[in-house]
Symmetry: C2
Subunit: 282 residues, 2 copies
């Protein structure tokens, strides 16, 4: 395994926030992630980890700077890891649109050229990165996953596709049914090709509708009702319908007046972290 | 008075965060500020205001996005106003250095060309902006002031220069003795000219050392001991010496391992807000 290089390090709520870079095999490129370690985390006292997946155009920095999560994570003894949202680099395929290419990895394994050479985000997030984290930091293999918008889609889909890998999942403003909305259709066409059966394998509503009990994972979704993408891209009613169909343990909370921004995430991140901690500590 | 134009508006912790622009007479330019209004603030229930002054290169956005202040301000019923750190615009004097010109107003009234035409930040912060805020929003005239780095300098100096205008003052990592450090010397030379007697009128350590009881204002200063600017630019020991000399009510807390970043501010902003609220509600 290539060396982890520390990029930055800051004391935060008695714990530490840091950024690291390393050469990712899954992404075939150098990648960067951020980690928050709560006070008291040590080899003798390893802590569970929440993986946070950010939305379109984000990096490993947005959540750590804007979500106000560290206070509660410090209190609960929870580590948080925030990967970048796609592979990066001059030799990595890109597109001038904000919603395709670098900054828009959609947390899947691409099968189509030119994307498949680097865009193996599912393998990166579910396998390679946790192995790194668990080898290098004082954490357990108790994992939770959460995200926002494109990252909310990622959290829901990766939890459903990897039963048992995560003990709890939550999402803010997720893309719930990407096969049916412009962001998803554009990304899936490029990364997965024309076969819509493949698309459904990365669609939270489709997966949740068919979920069997071994795929059930405690799930909390928060949606702002003044979200500018609510009807065009997010469509949370697909989750409600899917969960009702399969008996999936979904809690969907809708909040009047809140929008798609980190001001919304910050307002409810404490609730999400306490939800995860309750499951992780059970 | 020119009209306030709303630029953005987000629900946050049951209250509202918003940005506004207007044509400032003091700055002779269009300016922008951000405001957080806690839940329940109304004409029938006006709330006190904390003015936050940001550091070099910042705008009205840094504090609202990164300080994690809204949760506690919502609980305490405290409004927060964050102005920009300088006048802005194509016709406003500037310098290619990050520590002079736009983004580096230093919260003083400039006397020297070309700066004096727009750089009237003291008048803007202490008079014009509060008059606007108190006319347009459900707030009282109970004011507190706080800031970071250059803004910590601003908060301390404006409180000392305007006795009675603020009920409490706090600072993170302030420039305490600008007449003696590179950031201050560069800015004061440009904005105030060569006369060092004038400089001392905007120097917290000099003002605090001579402070009379009518200038005393409850003051909390937090300083990280891993701050990369601690010895070169901040030098908090000047405040301790000055307060000891004049009997000024200063509390200076030093925190091992914390740096100059918003990760430090976020870690201790709750303490600062509760400090202000205790004085404001007395």
């Amino acid at each position: 395994m290539s060396t982890l290089t520390e990029i930055s390090r800051q004391r935060s709520f008695g714990g530490w926030h840091a950024q690291y870079a390393y050469d990712s095999e899954a992404l075939n490129s150098r990648t960067r992630f951020a980690i928050f370690l709560p006070p008291g985390a040590s080899q003798a006292n390893p802590v569970p980890v929440l993986y946070w997946l950010s939305g379109l155009t984000c990096t490993d920095e947005n959540f750590m700077q804007k979500a106000a999560a560290q206070r509660v994570a410090a209190e609960l003894g929870l580590a948080i890891v925030a990967p970048d949202t796609s592979p990066r680099g001059e030799d990595v395929a890109d597109n001038h649109d904000y919603d395709l290419g670098q900054g828009a990895g959609f947390y899947l394994n691409a099968t189509e050229p030119p994307w498949q050479a680097h865009y193996q985000m599912e393998r990166f997030v579910t396998e390679e990165l946790p192995a790194r984290i668990e080898a290098h930091f004082p954490v357990t293999d108790r994992r939770a996953i959460a995200g926002h918008s494109m990252g909310g889609h990622g959290a829901l889909v990766l939890s459903l596709r990897h039963p048992g890998r995560y003990r709890s999942v939550s999402a803010f403003s997720p893309i719930t049914h990407p096969v049916a909305v412009p962001w998803g259709q554009k990304a899936f066409s490029a990364y997965l090709g024309a076969d819509r059966d493949r698309w459904q394998q990365y669609d939270a509503a489709c997966l949740m509708r068919k979920a069997t009990p071994d795929q059930h994972c405690p799930t909390l979704v928060s949606q702002g009702l003044a979200d500018e993408f609510l009807n065009s891209q997010l469509q949370p009613w697909h989750l409600t319908e899917a969960a009702g169909h399969s008996g999936y343990p979904l809690t969907l909370e809708q909040h009047p007046d809140y929008d798609h921004s980190y001001y919304f995430i910050a307002s409810f991140i404490e609730q999400h972290l306490r939800f995860h901690q309750e499951v992780l500590s059970a």
